[in-house]
Symmetry: C2
Subunit: 343 residues, 2 copies
């Protein structure tokens, strides 16, 4: 008898098995309309010829062929409160960042809550206040939502799904990196994973989740980026491989420029989980032409002094790490179970 | 000691307690931007001056001040497969209908899945095929998504959240009913609830879920509707009270024109649950001026021969049922536990 195929926990972790499941889903859904970038962080629809939007009393004008960008993310993190944030904060920053990564100004967010019966109101209010804080800081409103409650044991505490729409004049493609470009990280990576893992395993560390919005950074440097991605599920290994694959280039990172803090490396070694697969929730990796690199880095270090050039784009394919001794190690798309429920 | 406040199952059922929870949520989220209709099925943003969209090769033009409509819904139904549909079908029809109820042409849908580890791939494919079928029938694409997998016991099988964006030239407000208008139901109501309850309790009935999209009906009669709502969670009792309250009018239904099938009434009496609180997933109730009523009814009966005029709008407030014997009974917003996980 043929064994029954099931969805495995590995398919939820942002690595290779996730890509397989998503491809399978995408294959069944056949209608595409006029939308583009269906396999990117957000889908893109051309708006022509002119769109102007009133927001906070100001009228924003978007030129010929502005683009509507649409994205969504589900959040089932454990624990729901962690050093540096909570499930509400990352639901907001995650969706705002997906729009920002596409080069879009966020216009509004939808908030769908599935809550377990008996969930403390105090915790719900804390989560909503975190959401509101991000909303007030960025000016991006929650405009529509849904709230469902399910019986005890039918969901673990609370699940949040946010969707977001934004308008872009130029979409940042993840397939735009060119040989000769340099790879920039907007700060040290993987600290969202470290904060959650430390909370789960009672590991003592001063590292907090890196979760924050990237809207301002992208507004400042977006037009120079030839590609950009926020390394959430699957970490930098997943997004660097995505950029390399979509851009049809090879990425070579330098070991002496690695964007990881000591504690990140320590917890990675302790748990035997590759640090390149650690998710961040407020960082991006991107590529810029070599001539713009210095200027971009200078701007990014104003937001985060750990921003740095971590490697370069060459002809070829795959993602590699050049060690200090000159050896070359392939950085693969994460495989296997990885870390469930980090983001 | 003060008892700890928790989220109750009653707050998830679409009745009075749901409204209280949603008001509480809305109070914490303070940023509104230029969006309107924040407490309706979808939020509305004015687009000015002109927006034209290419879809399926055709260019659709929207005039001065077209409106972008944005909506979301979470689906945690039990059972996930039921006579007449499955969780995938209602996730699509629910979001397309929320856009249609606002008078908007759907442009694209986002699909967020949270799947329990070990969920059969065969079931996932069935659900996705249902989604694709609605997508192909309506031409509305799934354009972006997210797929998360959680450990066994952390979610019950699968949860789907869809968000949708659409463009409207005129938004149908739920507060537009006027004294003298008549109340129309697009077909018999409550059959989605009957199908799910029958499946749960092994009750024998030929009734199937009424779930279907209402896009065509609204395209045909939308411009004549002074108000419209699809009676999903909380059923017709919830949406008729919403129309009455927002329009500041009184709704009087006639018992001899009630839009319920015999089996719907039977299961309602058997379970002791008010039939007016039974959700539908492919029906709407709306109001039209008396002079348009005949024409509208004629159009709607082409889609569903059970479409009928069920009452009228008067000055005053509240929703009432005039019985065949001339007595008047108040139809309240549903209270208490109602039926969890129907939609």
């Amino acid at each position: 008898m043929k064994e029954k195929e099931v969805v495995t926990i590995e398919a939820g972790a942002g690595g290779e098995k996730s890509s397989e499941l998503i491809s399978e889903i995408r294959k069944i859904l056949k209608v595409k309309g006029a939308w583009k970038n269906l396999d990117d962080d957000g889908a893109v629809l051309d708006l022509a010829p002119t769109l102007s939007l009133k927001r906070r009393g100001r009228t924003m004008k978007f030129g010929q062929m502005s683009k509507l960008v649409f994205t969504t993310d589900a959040f089932i993190v454990d624990p729901i409160f962690f050093p540096g944030g909570d499930i509400g904060k990352i639901a907001m920053t995650g969706t705002i960042n997906d729009l920002a990564m596409m080069g879009a100004k966020p216009l509004g967010i939808s908030l769908s809550l599935v809550i377990e019966e008996g969930f403390p109101k105090e915790d719900l209010r804390k989560i909503l206040s975190s959401i509101n804080k991000v909303s007030e800081e960025t000016g991006v409103p929650i405009v529509t939502g849904d709230t469902k409650v399910t019986e005890k044991g039918k969901i673990d505490k609370i699940e949040i799904t946010t969707a977001g729409i934004g308008v872009a004049e130029r979409v940042i493609e993840s397939g735009g990196a060119k040989p000769g470009d340099v790879v920039i990280a907007s700060g040290d990576l993987g600290e969202h994973a470290v904060a959650l893992l430390a909370a789960r395993f009672n590991y003592q560390t001063k590292i907090k989740s890196d979760c924050k919005t990237l809207e301002k950074e992208i507004r400042a440097v977006g037009k120079y980026l030839t590609s950009a991605k926020d390394p959430t599920r699957g970490g930098s290994a997943a997004v660097l491989n995505e950029i390399a694959e979509k851009s049809k280039v090879k990425i070579v990172l330098e070991e002496n420029k690695l964007p990881f803090k000591k504690d990140t490396i320590a917890i990675s070694e302790l748990l035997g989980i590759d640090k390149f697969s650690f998710p961040s929730e407020g960082r991006f990796v991107g590529t810029v032409s070599e001539k713009n690199a210095g200027r971009i880095l200078k701007i990014l270090t104003k937001f985060n002094k750990e921003a740095k050039i971590i490697g370069r784009i060459e002809k070829g394919k795959g993602v590699f790490l050049k060690t200090n001794l000159g050896a070359v190690k392939k950085i693969e798309v994460p495989r296997g179970k990885l870390i469930p429920r980090i983001c």
